[in-house]
């Protein structure tokens, strides 16, 4: 391997020749993960593809070959397309808002609160923002159904108190239910970026901030010019994993709305679950999950390639 071939990978120091003989040994470290992946994910996935080529009611019933029939049906299924439209809302609620707000909160806590008020306060606030992630989703769902309750709920009580004339029927109206879900998801997800970003800020060289302070830069300007660029790796990580999470989101929909009202909050995962278990259409459910997995994979690879290009600049 020539030095130039190595440096095209982003200008890292060329590997010393001794490594070449050790490289085979690194594969051994990968072995446990690879073996686990094969058994737990790869083989079941292949089996899932096999299932999707049949009509099957599950359990001990017969499997009837239909080839690509399930996929053809899927492409024309309005519920399926609706579920993908809803995924866009999910992305806003799980990726966009929490990441942006999380960046702000992390920066405020780390660069404003911690130095001026104390680390304990910052840590306490961070903990309270993260706590929703700890609550079992079934419990969180119940709590939010009380909060979003139309007539007796906490949210509408607050809205009425501040003068809103006719607060929405959050979980009952097909027009607003998705927004109710988004509120809960933002609440649920916010802690994850805050924790990661605050941890990331710990590795940023403080002298950069000090220099900016000396120059009299405002907090906002420091945020946009120092914090954001420095945190690029973590922003990628959070965005990618949150994106995958948004495409896969399932439990909040199951608990809070069951895909309703009137099917307005169905998401692909939930639709697959219904087919697997309530409608006993295992083949069709398998097709849905395969299409989803494929889509997620394409998006993730896209992002990874994008990340690699961006950090290689």
């Amino acid at each position: 391997m020539t030095a130039s071939a190595v440096t095209t990978r982003g200008g890292r120091a060329p590997a010393p020749p001794r490594e070449r003989s050790e490289r085979p040994r690194y594969w051994a470290y990968l072995a446990p993960m690879a073996a686990g992946f094969l058994i737990i994910v790869a083989i079941p996935l292949v089996m899932n593809v096999w299932f999707s080529l049949h009509n099957w009611q599950g359990g001990a019933s017969e499997m009837t070959w239909v080839g690509l029939g399930n996929y053809v049906e899927l492409m024309q299924d309005p519920t399926f397309w609706q579920s993908f439209r809803n995924t866009l809302y999910m992305i806003v609620a799980i990726v966009v808002v929490p990441t942006l707000v999380g960046l702000l909160l992390a920066s405020v806590l780390f660069n404003l609160v911690a130095p001026r008020v104390g680390e304990r306060t910052a840590a306490f606030l961070r903990g309270s923002y993260y706590l929703p992630q700890i609550l079992p989703i079934a419990v969180a769902g119940f709590m939010w159904s009380w909060i979003l309750d139309t007539d007796g709920g906490a949210l509408n009580a607050v809205l009425t108190a501040i003068g809103v004339a006719s607060p929405p029927d959050w979980l009952g109206s097909a027009d607003v239910a998705i927004y109710g879900i988004m509120l809960m998801l933002i609440w649920l997800q916010l802690g994850y970026p805050v924790v990661i970003f605050m941890a990331a800020l710990g590795r940023v060289d403080p002298s950069i901030y000090e220099a900016a302070d000396v120059d009299g830069a405002s907090w906002w300007s420091q945020f946009t010019r120092i914090t954001l660029p420095e945190l690029k790796p973590e922003i990628f990580i959070v965005t990618l994993t949150a994106l995958v999470g948004a495409l896969k989101v399932f439990a909040p929909i199951l608990i809070l709305t069951g895909g309703g009202p009137e099917g307005s909050t169905v998401v692909p995962s939930y639709y697959a679950y219904r087919n697997f278990f309530e409608l006993s259409r295992v083949g069709y459910g398998a097709a849905i999950s395969n299409v989803m997995a494929l889509l997620i994979l394409v998006i993730a690879i896209g992002m990874l390639v994008f990340q690699r290009r961006a950090t290689d600049d």
Binding site: G59, G172, P261, R274, E278
Partner: protein, 435 residues
């Protein structure tokens, strides 16, 4: 830096914890003990403080008296878990000997059709269970090709259920009603009076998940005008159904009327049945329509005078047998399983269930000491013996529950008319038959 990092220490700690755990788990191995002693494994999901749960506990005691060399392993699961995973888990090798499973074509019917349950017709005849379980009580214990109503027996119910209006006597008195209404028109007039006083007549719910009240009200109205044959044709898919004819047409249109006139309240599509119950218990509604779930809760928690009545003047009333006890095909101790089931149907256990407030299928209601419970059970007996129960609407076709719920929601929101619903219903039902 010396060897052990925090991570390393934790890992060692983990291994130290894991080893005894591994050993202890290995010791808890399945059925066969070392000396050949047997274990009877029962998997069920009844709350152990409910009448049926108490009855089964007693049945376990009686069983142990009868079979002192057998250990009984009474396992607790949930309705949801069984609904979701029974098909998978019962096709495995390590199955319970007695399993409680959900009645209906989508659940029990599927299990029967896939050969996961033992057909017990012979045992039923041998032990005389068919004398105790008669009429519509046995309809969902028998399945043929996955459809209930006929065929081999696959399970045995212990209790029955029926659906009634529960009403707040104090709110009724407030509008001058000292008796429950005697006919549906009277009921409607009463509800008009409630609305005039600003009281919600019926506390209801229509959320897609768990918002079943509207569905039960709709089906109760249909049942009010239906004949035995019409319901049986529908339930057991014995004959084509024309949903544009009565009783479907009449019941559904009346249901829409009730929604339009706000008898069932407003903005209920986000509520589930638990919230509807709480609304009634906190006196935000005069009536609620439900089964013994509310009966028990009202008995324990209501802070006002209350009572119940079935849909006045109805032909048939919603209700059915309870869920079923069956024996998986791969069970290892079938004879012991049959013994246990036999005990649940015994006089002692059935009477115990009755005295605890449950609707025992073969109990003696005169033995029930608590007045309320006895009255409730006595209300059930004529329905059971007269074959006047119309079951629950979601049993005939797979996926029916979600389908009906979705449309109940649409109708409750005013986004669908009765005719549109009936058309969709026709389509779904006919398609479901073809599956």
């Amino acid at each position: 830096m010396t060897g052990i990092t925090r991570r390393g220490a934790l890992k060692l700690g983990g291994a130290a914890v894991a080893t005894p755990a591994l050993l202890s788990l290995g010791a808890c191995s399945p059925s066969e003990g070392s000396s050949g002693a047997k274990t009877l494994k029962i998997l069920q999901y009844e709350d152990p403080t409910t009448p049926q749960g108490i009855g089964w506990k007693r049945a376990v005691e009686l069983f142990t008296e009868k079979h002192p060399d057998v250990t009984v392993d009474l396992q607790q699961t949930s309705f949801d878990a069984v609904r979701q995973s029974a098909k998978i888990t019962l096709s495995g090798n390590d199955v319970p000997d007695v399993v409680e499973f959900n009645k209906g074509n989508a659940d029990g019917g599927q299990l029967a059709a896939q050969g996961l349950l033992t057909p017990i017709t012979d045992v039923v005849a041998e032990r005389g269970w068919d004398k105790k379980i008669t009429g519509s009580m046995r309809s969902f214990a028998q399945y043929e090709n996955g459809k209930a109503g006929s065929g081999d027996w696959y399970g045995v119910p212990n209790i029955g259920e029926y659906v009634t209006f529960f009403y707040n006597k104090e709110l009724f008195a407030k509008v001058g009603a000292n008796q429950p209404p005697a006919s549906i028109p009277e009921l409607e007039a009463l509800m008009d009076t409630f609305l005039a006083e600003g009281i919600t007549p019926i506390s209801s719910s229509a959320a897609t998940s768990q918002g079943f009240n509207q569905m039960w009200i709709w089906y109760s109205l249909v049942s009010a005008y239906a004949t035995r044959d019409e319901i049986d044709d529908f339930m057991f898919t014995r004959a084509p159904i024309d949903f544009n004819a009565d009783p479907w047409r009449k019941g559904t249109h009346q249901f829409q009327e009730w929604i339009n006139r706000k008898y069932t309240g407003e903005r209920i599509s986000g509520l589930n049945f638990e919230q509807a119950t709480v609304n009634w218990l906190s006196q935000n509604g005069a009536m609620v329509m439900w089964n013994h779930g509310v009966f028990t809760r009202a008995k324990n928690e209501a802070e006002f005078d209350w009572g119940w009545f079935t849909m006045p003047g109805a032909n048939l009333t919603m209700g059915s047998s309870g869920h079923l006890l069956g024996v998986p095909e791969k069970a290892k101790n079938k004879d012991l399983a049959y013994d246990f089931i036999d005990l649940t149907l015994s006089e002692e256990v059935q009477n115990l269930i009755g005295t605890e407030g449950g609707l025992a299928i073969a109990g003696d209601t005169s033995l029930i000491t608590d007045d309320l419970s006895r009255a409730y059970a006595e209300g059930f007996t004529p329905l059971m013996e007269g074959d006047l129960l119309s079951f629950y609407p979601d049993y005939p076709v797979t996926g029916f529950l979600d389908f009906i719920q979705e449309h109940m929601q649409k109708m409750s929101n005013g986004n669908e008319t009765a005719d549109e619903y009936l058309a969709a219903l026709q389509k779904f039902y006919d398609a479901g038959l073809g599956r």
